[in-house]
Amino acid sequence: MTAALSARGLSKRYGTTTALDAVDLEVAPGELVGLLGPNGAGKSTLVKIACGLVRPTAGQAHVAGAAAGSRAARASTGYLAELFRFPGWARADEVLALHQRLARSDGGAAEREALLARVGLSGEGGRRVETMSKGMQQRLGIAQALIGAPRLVLLDEPTSALDPGGRRTVRDLLVGLREQGVGVLLNSHLLSEIELVCDRVVIIDGGRVVTEGRPQDLTAPGGVEVETSDGLRRLPDARREDVPRIVRELVDGGAEVYGVRVVTGTLEDAYLAAVVGRDG
């Protein structure tokens, strides 16, 4: 099956600065890939190359089989920029109608209403953008990115202005996209969100991919914590399989056991290990 996004040896240099250095990346249809990295790592550059805003210095990117930036590729892409704005004078419905026309979507009013409902903006189609909160504008931006049923959705910090309810809405929406077979590349600093929703995580730093894998594979075990009558005992090398033996030994030794917790590492730990460890 053709990848939603395929990048091979992608490099981008701005003068003497290397923003991307021979990056390989693939997003399969129906796959949610989280893109992580510190500021200036090259995440946005990668996303912009994928949607045709930036031309690579070397390498190739394809969207649904078409060269990134080509008309066919752009027709298959939905994009929400990190820093975007819609005209303040326009109504939400007008913004979506313009993008429908440019995306050659024949979904009409039904598609616009469905998309607004999907991002939690039901009944707000007649509202002018300048009267919307930043969070509402971000939701509108996500709705705009989904016009015309794209095969690849590129979201650059899509939840930065959203409250917890809005983030939940976007997570549900991303899960829905996965079920529809849409490939999603999610660029975010919110590691907990990526951990919750993404099938795979790619961490880049200094323009290079430093690690990638499933969130559960990247997070290391963190030992076992046991709450006993003598206080909290931490066993950093213990694993889940060791818990029955540990409890048995403690009870046999006369201790009262009140609780046991298997500690797992977080994506944040993995991220810091990959980025900070590499940098420092």
């Binding site: 045709g52 820093l83 975007f84 004078w89 026309r101 050659r104």
Partner: protein, 285 residues
């Protein structure tokens, strides 16, 4: 073409909703009101004074030609202001504000986006300068029964002149930030007008080099040649000493420019737009 029209419609809606056109209409009404006051006062004062000039002067033609020359200059100036403000941030400015990226990623060519902006701004500015000039001509006729030799040539020259400014402003917007582009376009406009005035001085003092330089510059920035041609057409039927005075004019010299200026101005705009499209296509956003 459908996509370009969609972008043009979007730009026109923006001009209407942001009340740009309303403000322009109100300020233009103020200008036309003042122009009417001046025109009626001038022609009325002519009724009360008698000749006395050493050479025979047709005072009514002199007053009418000069007033309408002023109206033509103001129409061009306001049209250029409108053209610049509608387009000065079309590429870099809109990209810096994050307005452009959502549109560029759609399956619409970047050239199409530029053509859409050109169509919208050109339509607004061309209709505007034609309307201001024709209303001024009506006022002049009502005030002093003065009818220019031609209305079509000056009006068409003004319209095509502001289209060339729209094109060059779009080109500037691909490489310059909003403020820098605005300043650059106004300086180009001022340079064109200055060249026209220098040519006028050259003609009056019979300094050939100045006249030649002025002529070359007016073809490099064709809005100036179109303006000079329009001024000439306005008063080409006025002869004698009056004709000489009115052709020199206080707002740039009138000049009977070759008919080749019309296709040249169209081709010039197309070339400038093509350069803008090339610069835009190579620009990372």
């Amino acid at each position: 073409m459908s996509d370009a029209l969609a972008i043009a419609g979007h730009s026109l809606r923006e001009a209407v909703r942001r009340r740009v056109l309303l403000v322009v209409a109100l300020l233009t009404a103020v200008f036309l009101g003042l122009y009417a006051l001046a025109a009626f006062e001038v022609f009325e004062s002519l009724e009360q004074t008698s000749g006395g000039a050493i050479v025979p002067i047709d005072e009514r033609a002199l007053a009418g030609g000069t007033l309408l020359g002023l109206a033509m200059f103001v129409a061009l100036f306001l049209g250029v202001v409108l053209a610049v403000f509608l387009t000065l941030g079309a590429v870099r400015g809109d990209a810096d504000r994050g307005l452009l990226q959502p549109l560029v990623v759609r399956p619409v060519g970047r050239t199409t986006l530029l053509v859409g902006r050109l169509l919208a701004a050109s339509a607004v500015c061309a209709l505007y300068v034609i309307a201001v000039f024709l209303l001024a001509a009506l006022i002049t006729r009502a005030a002093g029964d003065f009818t220019p030799a031609s209305l079509v040539v000056p009006a068409a020259g003004l319209a095509l002149g502001v289209v060339t400014v729209v094109a060059v402003s779009l080109l500037g917007s691909t490489v310059l930030g909003t403020t820098a582009n605005g300043i650059a376009i106004f300086m180009v406009f001022a340079a064109g007008l200055a060249a026209g005035l220098l040519g006028q001085i050259g003609d009056a003092l019979e300094v050939g080099a100045l006249s030649t330089a002025s002529s070359i510059i007016s073809w490099i920035v064709p809005f100036e040649a179109l303006y000079q041609n329009g001024l000439h057409a306005l008063t080409s039927d006025i002869g004698g000493a009056t004709g000489v005075i009115v052709q020199l004019g206080p707002f740039g010299g009138a000049s009977d420019v070759s008919a080749a200026i019309w296709p040249w101005a169209v081709a010039w705009s197309a070339i400038v737009l093509a350069l803008a499209a090339l610069a835009f296509s190579r620009r990372d956003l």
